[in-house]
Structure formats: C-alpha cells, structure tokens
C-alpha cells in the first residue's frame, strides 16, 4: 500500500498537494505545522504533538502497522498543510477497526484537503482489509471536519455528552462517526 504513495491532489485554488506517509525527516516541518494550529484546537489533541520532545519520541516509534500518519505536503515548498493518522490496534479483537485523527492548517481550510485525506484513509483502510473506520469530533470545535466525514458517508454512531472540557472548563460533546466499509452489497 505504501508503494502507492505519494498521491497528488489539486485543491480548488489550484495548489498541488502530495499525500504521503510521514517519514522521520518530516520532524522539522511537523513542528512548523503544529505551531500554526490555534491554541484552542491544540487543547483537544489526544497527543501533545506540539511539544518538540513528545514529537521526537512519536517520530521515533513510527510503526505503520499500528499508527499510519499521512501528511498533505505542498508541492512547491514542502510545507505540511494537513495531517491524518490511522490508529489500528494490534489486538485481533479490534484489528478490523481504525480510528482517524485529522488536523488541517488554518490557512488551508475550505479547500477540501481534509476531505481528500479522509477519503485517502478510507481507501487505505479498505486496502488493508479494515471493516470499520471511526472518527471522533469535538462538538462546536471540529464541526467542519465532521461535516466532511458525513459527506463521505460516515454516520453518527453516538454522542458522548460532556465528554471533553475546553480550555475554559466548559463541557463539550464528543461526536462518534463511523463508516462501515462495504463488505457486501444490499439488493437495492
């Protein structure tokens, strides 16, 4: 599957972007990328990738079998514009499931980059034999990403009410969206 990368997409404004797996050499570009993410969004990161030391450790344990990070890289200057990571447990009980986490550079939103990354993840999951893709979005913060997932046929499977707290201590819901990869056709 990795051999099929990079994949090229052209955004609505004509920017050429390459989707490819993260490699060790991306560390500096990732630091720059996460530095651009607004503080109120960094707050909700499950992993503190904004911390250079944590990022270094994260890069050192890259294991595509359990964690497959893909970045969207601008062709002309190599800047990272967005990233998505597929998390897949080694446990056979839930090996058929992947969890997605996505982040798009604030200046490159509304260009469908997030949609392309989600679609790429779905195709990759399909090719890996995964049956179910799960994405979680913080209500009121990641609504645009949730809407993009909905357009790619993710459906809302559940809501964990008051599951997360924002920087001000306010509770927010966590929306759980699922895409079942077609294992069979309906007769319709």
């Amino acid at each position: 599957m990795i051999k099929d990368y990079p994949k090229t997409v052209v955004t609505k404004d004509g920017t050429i972007v390459r989707l490819r797996p993260v490699v060790r050499e991306d560390e500096e570009a990732l630091k720059v990328f996460f530095a651009q993410v607004p503080e109120e969004e960094k707050w909700f990161l499950r992993e503190n990738l904004n911390d250079p030391e944590f990022l270094k450790r994260w890069m050192n344990k890259l294991d595509y079998d359990q964690m497959f990070p893909i970045v969207a890289v601008k062709e002309d200057d190599g800047a990272i514009l967005a990233g998505i990571t597929l998390y897949r447990s080694a446990s056979p009980a839930i090996r058929h499931v992947v969890h997605l986490r996505i982040m798009v550079h604030p200046e490159y939103r509304s260009l469908r980059l997030g949609s392309w990354l989600i679609l790429d993840s779905v195709k990759l999951s399909m090719d890996l034999g995964v049956e179910k893709v799960i994405a979680e979005f913080v209500a009121g913060v990641e609504d645009a990403a949730g809407a993009a997932a909905a357009k790619l046929d993710f459906h809302q499977e559940g809501v964990l009410h008051d599951y997360v707290k924002d920087q001000q201590g306010n509770y927010r819901d966590l929306i759980i969206m699922v895409k079942n990869l077609h294992q069979d056709w309906s007769d319709f």
Binding site: T11, D127, G129
Partner: protein, 221 residues
Amino acid sequence: MSFAAEQKNYSERVVRTLIKETPKGTLTIRSNLPPGSFEGLEMDDGLGRFAHYSSIIRNVETFETISRREGGRVTLALMEPKLIIAYGICSYPDTEERWSALGHVMYEMAAVEVSRNFRGLHVGRCVMDLSMDDDLFEDKIAYMQGLSWHWDLDGKGLTAPQYRLMMMHLYGLYGFREVYTNEPNLTLRPENVMMIRIGSRVSEEHQKEFRYLRFGIKQPK
C-alpha cells in the same frame, strides 16, 4: 499450459495472436481485430445479464462498432471456432467525457471481461498482455475507471474492496497506478478506482494538464 504467439498484418493494423492451453480447452486470443472480424462469432453464456450483474458488452455487433472507431481496439479470447469467452476494449474517450479535453493523448482501457465459465484460468491476464503489447501506449496516458457497480461480485465471490484490490493488482502488473480525481462517477464510492499509465513519450505539458484536469481545472495556473 503452453503459449505460442504469431503476428499478422491486416492493412495498417497488427493483429497479435496467443494460443493458451487450459483445462477447458485451447483458447485463441487475438488483439486489435479489424472490422469484419466478428461475423459468425457468438458470446459465451457466461457473458450476459445476471441477477446482480450485466456484462458491459452483450452483443457481438458492438465489437464491430468499436473496431470501426478511430483508435477502437478489440481483443477477443475465443474457444475456437466461434465462441467468445473474454474480451478487452480500448478506445479514445467519448467526447462528453472529461478526459476528451486532452484529445488523443488519453486512451481508455474501457473494459476487460472474462466469462463466468472461464474464470480462474488467467485469461484476463492474457487479454491484458496482448492489449498492452503495443508501442502506441508510449504516446498515451492510458487510464482505466473501475466503477464498482460494473463488478461481478457475486460471480467472483468477492466483496467490493477485495474486487478493487484485484483490479489494482491486475493493472499494476502493466505499470498502472491509482490516482485521485474529483470526477463525479469515480467519487461516488470509495472503492471506485482510477488507474493510469503514462507513456514514456508523453510530454510534461500533457502530464501537467492531465493532473489539473483530474480535478476539473482546464487551465493550469
């Protein structure tokens, strides 16, 4: 299995022939068949209309029509003397298709299909071998559009993701790779796949135009 190959000229066309021995008998596979080659041939009953699947081509006359088109190429696998058990079709894109904007540099691998009665014998590979065995492809951006609603999932006993992988493996053998596009039919389902092979003599300019065209942009900035 044994193979033999011969080559004959029919006016400007080069027809290539491959003989393939199979447990079901000897197959003759011929590529680039000229108009007039199809009279008296019959479709095997494993090509046709089924409960969840219909062959893209069900009438022998359609092969004649395709072979008469400019750039239309038909490859047939025959159980001699007259039974069509597989086919491959290549052609320039229809004028209403997005890809026609680049003219004749675009060349579609429009279909490869093997009768339900002859699957598992690697006939599809032979049809592809002969179809692709032509220097013409070095001047073309050859492409295939795998649309899952055309796939015989029941007949193959595969799920759509498995069928997608099978298609990607088959075309990958001939240098095709998956590319992304916002073409509406291809984006309808994630298992749909567009694969391309860029010929060695295709200009950088055409490659650039094609990259933008995949996303509906006709004039690169």
